[in-house]
Structures are given as C-alpha cells and as structure tokens.
Subunit: 129 residues, 2 copies
DNA sequence: ATTTTACTTGACCTTTACGTAAGAGATATG
DNA sequence: CATATCTCTTACGTAAAGGTCAAGTAAAAT
C-alpha cells in the first residue's frame, strides 16, 4: 500500500542535507503545497514533491530568497509539469537576479576602493608623525 | 555655562542624517560612552562625542558591523586622542575587512556564473522542444 | 507664564529563515 | 506487547539594527 518511492520527512531531510524544520517551514509559507499523509497524519513525499523541494533548494543556492520564490510560486508549479510556462518567467527572474548580483559586485568593488583609500590616509597620518 | 559647541540629540541626529534612536542605540550597546547631561537629564554631545560618532558612521559606511566595532571599541578610543594606538589596530581591521570584501566579490562572481549557466540550460530545454 | 517642541526611559515590533523545546501521538523493531 | 525512534502541532527564540509607540519631563519660544 505504500509506494516504494514515498518518503517520510526525516529521511527526506537527511537525503537533502537539510532539517525537517526547513521542510515544514517551506510548507508553512506555501512554497511546498501540502503533501500526502499516512493514516496517522505523518507526511509522505512523492517524487514530484521531492523534485519541487530540490528545485527550491537550487534556487536558494542561486541566492533567490524564499520571498522572491513565493512571488513566483504560481509560475513554477512543477506538479503540473508545465515547464513551458515556468521557464520564461523563471528566466526573467534569473535575469533580474543576475543584474542584482552585478549591482552588489559593483557596490562591493567601490567599497573596497574606499576602504583602501581610508587605509592609505591613515597610513599617511602615521608616517607623517 | 554651556559650551557653544555642545549639541542635543535631535540636532546632532539631523546634522548626521540619522535618527535619535540610532544615537541612543549606539550608547545602549556601548559603542558611544555615556554623554554629559543637562540638569534635567537631557544628553549633550561635545566635539569629541561627535567625532566619535562620525567615526562610527564612517566605519559603518565601510561595511564594518556594529559588532565588529564593539570588539574594537577599546582600540579606537578617540576620547583619549591616542591616535597612535588606534591606527595600527584599525589598519589591521581594515585589511581583514578588505579580504572579506574580496571573498564576497569572488562568491558573487561564481554565483553569477552559476545563474547564467542555469539560465542557459533552461533556454536549451526551451529551444529543443 | 504658558504653550510648543524636544527629550527621557521602557518596552514591544520588524525582517529572514529557520532553531528549539514541549507534550502527545504514530511507526518500526525486538 | 513494550520500547525506541519518528513525527505531529504549537509557539516562543534568534540575530541586526534600529522603528515605533507611550507616558512623562525638560527646554525653548512666545
């Protein structure tokens, strides 16, 4: 009666290197749609659930916040396998994210300059004494 | 009896473009030593206080966290004018901070690559259909 | 002197992404 | 069956850097 493929939360967490809290949290904020439950209420995750979770983790790795993902939750409904609809929107998001990253890099670079300059000025003060 | 130079918190905040809460907060966490008070308890800030606050804001601008500043609070005791003692330590900090920034930049750069790659793979999937 | 600002402390609120604990029920194993 | 090991929900805690009241004084302006 139990699909070989269905997994409980602890096992899934261990597999993906995250905690059960994280999985429940993603469900809590609606990133992870309610999974099936066993008779007693225990969650079981099927292949699609796992795919979706992996996808979320991938996006997170790329620096996309859970909040940003939520705004797009409608678009990457992996359950529905409508990869056609999800991808254009996702690419849009990724592009936006790339420019954000570029901006951050630019900011850090100028910050670096400033720090170096400041450092030099202090060194000067030290040497002039 | 009142030094022309002494300023109250609202005025000081306005001058530096921050809020009074921020100034009180810095005092709260010990970044800003207790200032003099008027008879009624109103804080007044003298030149040194203002210098110190400006210094803190400068460091903050450079991306140094309040926490990092606290660890160094002993070293940049501007009140004591011991610019000799503060600078070497400060330079040390700045150097450390520069390398932190470099690391962040490197991370963001590789993140950028990953995102672009991911984007490309998705584009491929789209085009192959 | 009186009104209008400004200042005081205290304490709770915000965001993000979970951590952690409590108490109770479910599942797996010997 | 008993026990060990999940899993469940609820709900408060955390870090950073202040924001935002609220009630009560003090200082400044008229």
């Amino acid at each position: 009666m139990n699909d070989k493929k269905n997994v409980q939360i602890g096992e899934l967490a261990k597999r993906l290197g995250i905690t059960t809290r994280t999985i429940r949290y993603y469900e809590e904020i609606g990133l992870m749609g309610p999974p099936e439950r066993l008779g007693g209420g225990t969650r079981t995750f099927n292949k699609d659930d796992i795919l979706r979770l992996k996808f979320i983790l991938k996006l997170k790795e790329l620096g996309i916040s859970l909040n940003e993902m939520q705004e797009l939750a409608e678009h990457f409904d992996i359950h529905k396998q409508d990869f056609d609809t999800i991808t254009p929107k996702l690419i849009e998001i990724l592009d936006l994210h790339i420019s954000k990253v570029d901006e951050k890099i630019a900011n850090l670079s100028s910050l670096r300059h400033e720090i170096v300059d400041y450092r030099l000025r202090i060194m000067d003060i030290l040497n002039k004494k």
